[in-house]
Amino acid sequence: MPTRRLPAEIARGLRDVAPLLIGIIPFGLVAGAAAVEAGLRPLQAIGLSVVVFAGASQLAVIDLLGQNAALSIVVITGVVINLRILMYSASIAPSFQSFRPRWKAITAYILTDQAYALSISRYAEKELSKTERRRYYLTVALTLWIVWQICTIVGIIIGARVPDEWGLGFAVPLVFLSLLVPAAASRPAIAAALVGGVVSTVGTIYNFPLNLGLITGGATGVVAGVVVDTYTNTPGQSSSETNH
């Protein structure tokens, strides 16, 4: 195995990101195919994937451009859908604090739901050095970036020819589910997960616009975690030791 000669965190990152690609590939193909169907030029379709690099907002923008919606609405819709990344930026910021500004810019540009989720889970699992943290993150995030760009191009050329009933996109929520199990390891964390999941599902059922169910779920979940953490001062729980 050639991966044995790679630094440990690069090999580990490749292994962790591999199954995720099953779910990303059909999504990337659609991002390319839908863009040209909506009348974007191939170069613009690629530009959207390279410059914005955020699938859900790309699809929304493509859809709205196809409907000739007002340009300001198109941009604002994309921005609101991407606001959830604020939570990832804040959550992962302490792990990137000692990086140089140039690395911060690079890591920020490729920050996605999946890169965040895998990395923050890895950092929680094992104490890593600054270099190891960067290696792991860059491996995961850059792999996703490269695959996303290739899929966009393939989607532009041949269209999205993965049958829907294969359900490959289902791999994406499965990844978050498998990361959720170790992340919900304390009572306040379970409260955060329950509230986050329920609120987000309510958002789906009632068709909250612009992915707002996800943001509200994340935010209310964090509040629930803090509240439970504050009011259950279980002795021996490290997170709530500090007295105020």
Binding site: N68, G78, N82, P94, A171, S178, L180, V198, S200, T220
Partner: protein, 111 residues
């Protein structure tokens, strides 16, 4: 339906959204660099972002895969329960995804 916007207009949308999205992404990553140390209250809150967000990202796909709550005949929910059991006992993302996808395909195609 193809867009009637000019090439320039489409490029402006792409660049505007790109700049805004990058700003969102780098916001706290650079802000935390300016602070000497991050306040304890903030760190305490941030530890709940992963469970809250992972659940928010995952839950609808299992509980309401077609946009409304389904418990009976919900293939995704059964696949999710199988995957959760595997995640619980094996704690491995790869194994969890394989278990979930296989369950979905067995239910769907009877393979």
């Amino acid at each position: 339906m193809p867009t009637e916007y000019t090439s320039l207009a489409v490029w402006i949308v792409i660049l505007a959204l790109g700049v805004a999205t990058f700003t969102i992404r780098i916001s706290f990553i650079s802000l935390f660099g300016l602070l000497e140390n991050v306040p304890d209250r903030v760190t305490r809150g941030l530890q709940f972002v992963p469970p809250a967000v992972f659940a928010a990202l995952a839950a609808p796909a299992f509980i309401a895969p077609s946009g409304h709550i389904e418990f009976i005949g919900n293939e995704q929910l059964i696949a999710g329960i199988t995957a959760t059991a595997i995640a619980w006992y094996v704690d491995d993302v790869f194994a969890t995804i394989i278990a979930g996808m296989l369950t979905l395909w067995i239910l769907r195609f009877g393979i």
